[in-house]
């Protein structure tokens, strides 16, 4: 794919986002020594790298576990990150930022307190990761009855979780917050309204309901299909993601090298 084509993948300007994040990292980084990291990132001197959707899925999954979320939730987060990237809805810097902000101690306060619409946090805003998972878990219910939320951070992320569900053109959903509407099923997406609101870091409410996608035209100008290609990510952001993922790896020891992989016999014949 061409370089020009790839630049369009990020809604948020990757340079600006990367700079903001870099500053943040400088302040609060826990200084995991980079040289100890086993990197999957391409060796490149450029500021950007290209990553497959599978890499985004797997690295975000591990990063989510790395910040303290359970494996099952990490699985959903990896898939959501992949879906969002495939539809060019969000960029990896936002995912990193959201994961870094996750505090296990605060979990009880940022999840929906019950499943009654509108979903509300105990204190402050709902976390979009956990709220996205709840909406995805309740998709069958949402198909019958709309569901809303109260104050919610990064509303765009909820789309990533709903995108995992078995939605079809006949059984699609629409998500509304501020002045933007997302209409989608697993394989197609239409964005209506204010594109700028996709990037909101918080909204007062979000509304989710069933919609029939099959009546929409296939040639609508704002129709999106998932990309088939790699995603451009600033290398320092990717390294930050890998740093979080690194928390899931076990330190290398000679015992581990020999016994853990079981290669005790000569493999050089």
């Amino acid at each position: 794919m061409s370089m020009t084509g790839s630049i369009r993948l990020c809604l948020v300007d990757p340079c600006a986002a990367a700079q903001t994040l870099t500053t943040l990292i400088r302040i609060i980084s826990n200084f995991i020594i980079l040289s100890k990291m086993s990197s999957n990132a391409p060796l490149t001197t450029s500021k950007y790298g290209f990553f497959s959707l599978n890499q985004i899925d797997q690295t975000c999954r591990k990063a989510a576990k790395g910040v303290g979320l359970p494996w099952g939730a990490a699985d959903d987060i990896g898939k959501a990150a992949r879906w969002l990237s495939a539809y060019q809805l969000t960029s990896v810097p936002q995912i990193v930022e959201l994961l870094r902000a996750y505090k296990h101690d605060n979990y009880e306060n940022v999840i929906p307190q019950n499943l009654v619409s509108p979903l509300q946090a105990k204190q402050g805003s709902l976390n979009p990761l956990m709220t996205g998972m709840v909406l995805s878990d309740l998709i069958d219910q949402i198909i019958d009855e709309p569901m809303a939320t109260g104050k919610l951070d990064y509303p765009i992320f909820t789309a990533g979780f709903l995108g995992q569900t078995a939605l079809t053109p006949e059984k699609a959903v629409c998500l509304k917050w501020a002045d933007v509407v997302l209409v989608f099923h697993r394989d197609a997406l239409i964005i209506e309204g204010s594109l700028g609101d996709l990037e909101l870091t918080s909204c007062d409410s979000l509304h989710c309901e069933r919609i029939d996608f099959s009546t929409r035209h296939h040639d609508e100008p704002n129709l999106r299909r998932p990309i088939m290609g790699s995603v451009k990510v600033a290398m320092d952001v990717w390294q930050e993601l890998e740093k979080l993922a690194h928390h899931t790896y076990v330190e290398a020891t000679e015992q581990s090298r020999q016994a853990g992989a079981g290669a005790g016999l000569n493999d050089n014949d």
Binding site: F51, L53, P70, D75, V250, A252, G264, D267, N268
Partner: protein
């Protein structure tokens, strides 16, 4: 025609998940005619794919590159091979190796000379290099030094290599990793998943391996010619065909098998369906009866050439040989009663193997009875893929009571175990920071269990079940998971297994007696591998494509694209 045949036959019931999904049995699987390599070659020939070596720029030291192209007119794939001069002390099959005798990329299309240079700068570095979406597969291989040198020596002196030596090793080079599906920046599976040649599973990787095999024999002939341009000869094609591609596989394959439950369900049920179709046949034709009898004889020869340094496997091979002789006697039409005269003879035969033979022989018998029935089962080869995503979402509307019932129906084997016993929790799966190699640790002797990978499904489901006992049976799962997100992976697993009962391995994957190579062998058998040679309980060498036609032989007169797995009978 095939569909009609399949409809006409009455399938016997599939063997149960409780019987099939046990590690000991899965670790006894053999390739079948549905295995991916075989299905791929059948497809390539049927669709008239063409193959060509388009570039060969390799110097006297064996350093340079070669390109092999596969094309059907619509799509073209180029295996770009880089040959290296590797110092012997650097030759290692471990994932942690950093240099290899040869490195490869399967490129989607025809690379320009600029692209080849880009690949030359990256592919030899493997994981540390930079791949793009146009690269579908990344692989590397090392020589079997003793066979490679023997063949170079013989050919350069105008002689053919020793057949016994070829048979005892089976390959000139063995791959130590074959990556695909978006790893390290490679093209995502979605890029090619709707192309008919890659329907099913792992066909992209196995196309690369088949072309790598051609490279291994070309490079050995090149080195012999370089050593002695006046006397050097090419290898006898019949001898050459006895060479496959070796592969060294470590624990990396095991997590894949465990983390793709829907896919595994599909692979296993497809194989079981093929067996059930054959077992449903009311009688055997004289042709299939003869073919089967020949296959048993040929397999005896195959077993004689199956060498391993692993004592456990060696004992199993010895027992297998005895079992094959027993089977040979059992199917003799002179016997009274004659099994071929019975109703549903294939079913009778499989039932007999269950009673009389070792697990290794029982599962070989499954492959052997399926083998003569291509028309009846080959359509199943295209059913090896599945849309895994549709099984991923959690049904949060399910009640706790329903989930408990699912667990009781599908996880009795896990609920019976006492995980407080050290032996039942002895191991933990982890990923090492060293090149992200998956490994297995001893929980009570090694650090790292706090970073355990979520692969102990039996234990985790048992813990979930205990916790559910305290919860109102009418409560929705979504509410429970909001409060207890640590059970999310187990709930997803149970819901998947309830829909796809062959998705779960019904053994404790962290027990002290678990043998990881059983998982590896199961997966490799679906690939179509043979000659399993365990190097430890978590490391196995295999051979791929041994006796298969080479790309330039596919359309040779008399070449049966499907009759290569079992060694030929002596003339």
């Amino acid at each position: 025609m095939q569909e009609k045949l399949a409809e006409e036959v009455t399938m016997t019931p599939l063997r149960s998940p409780e019987k099939v999904m046990r590690l000991a049995r899965m670790g006894s699987f053999h390739q079948t005619r549905l295995s991916f390599m075989r299905a791929l070659l059948r497809y390539l020939k049927k669709e008239q794919w063409q193959f060509k070596r388009t570039e060969w720029e390799i110097d006297d030291k064996g350093v340079g590159h070669g390109i092999y192209v596969a094309s059907n007119g619509q799509y073209t794939y180029s295996l770009v091979c880089f040959a290296h001069d590797l110092p012997p002390e650097k030759r290692s099959d471990r994932v942690i190796a950093e240099e290899w005798d040869a490195t490869f990329a399967l490129y989607d299309g025809t690379p320009t000379s600029e692209e080849i240079e880009r690949l030359r700068g990256n592919i030899p570095k493997q994981e540390a290099g930079y791949c793009q979406q146009t690269e579908l597969v990344l692989a590397r291989a090392n020589r079997s030094v003793r066979l490679f040198e023997h063949v170079v020596d013989r050919l350069s002196n105008g002689l053919q290599p020793d057949q016994d030596m070829i048979d005892s090793v089976g390959y000139l080079m063995r791959t130590s990793a074959v990556y695909g599906n978006g790893k390290f920046g490679l093209g995502d599976r979605e890029r090619v998943s709707d192309r008919p040649e890659f329907i099913g599973a792992f066909r992209t990787e196995l196309l690369a391996v088949w072309l790598i095999r051609a490279f291994t024999t070309d490079i050995v002939e090149h080195m012999a010619w370089v050593a002695n341009p006046h006397k050097g000869v090419k290898m006898d094609p019949m001898l050459k065909r006895r060479l496959g591609v070796g592969n060294s596989t470590g624990l990396g394959m095991a997590p894949f098998l465990l983390l793709h439950p829907a896919l595994i369900h599909r692979w296993i049920t497809t194989r079981e369906k093929a067996l059930a179709r054959v077992c449903g046949l009311l009688s055997a034709t004289p042709e299939t009866e003869k073919q089967f009898s020949d296959l048993v004889r040929r397999m005896i020869i195959g077993v004689d050439n199956w060498n391993t340094v692993d004592q456990t496997q060696q004992n199993r091979i010895i027992e297998l040989r005895q079992d094959l002789l027993k089977l040979q006697r059992h199917i003799d039409p002179e016997n009274q009663p004659n099994i071929w005269q019975s109703l549903k003879p294939w079913k009778q035969l499989i039932d007999w193997t269950d009673r009389e033979l070792s697990l290794e022989a029982q599962e070989l018998a499954v492959s052997l009875v399926i083998e003569p029935h291509g028309e009846l089962v080959d359509d199943l080869s295209d059913e090896m893929g599945i849309d895994e995503a549709q099984y991923f979402p959690i049904q949060g509307g399910q009640t706790i009571g329903e989930l408990r019932t699912n667990i009781e129906e599908h996880y009795q084997w896990a609920l019976k175990l006492d995980y407080e016993e050290k032996s039942e929790s002895a191991r933990f799966w982890y990923v090492s920071e060293e090149k992200l190699e998956p490994r297995l640790g001893e929980r009570f002797d090694e650090p790292g269990a706090d970073k355990e990978q979520p692969l102990a499904f039996g234990r985790d489901v048992a813990i979930l079940y205990r916790e559910l006992a305290e919860i109102d049976a009418n409560q929705k799962i979504a509410v429970f998971l909001l409060q207890k997100p640590e059970h999310r992976h187990s709930v997803r697993r149970v819901q998947t297994t309830a829909k796809l009962p062959y998705a779960e391995v019904q053994d404790n994957l962290i027990s002290s007696i678990m043998r990881p190579i059983d998982l590896l062998r199961c997966k490799l058998s679906f690939f179509g591998a043979s000659r399993f040679d365990p190097r430890s309980d978590r490391w196995v060498r295999i051979t791929m494509y041994q006796h298969a036609p080479f790309p330039d032989e596919l359309y040779q007169e008399g070449m049966d694209v499907d009759d290569w797995v079992y060694p030929p009978l002596p003339c």
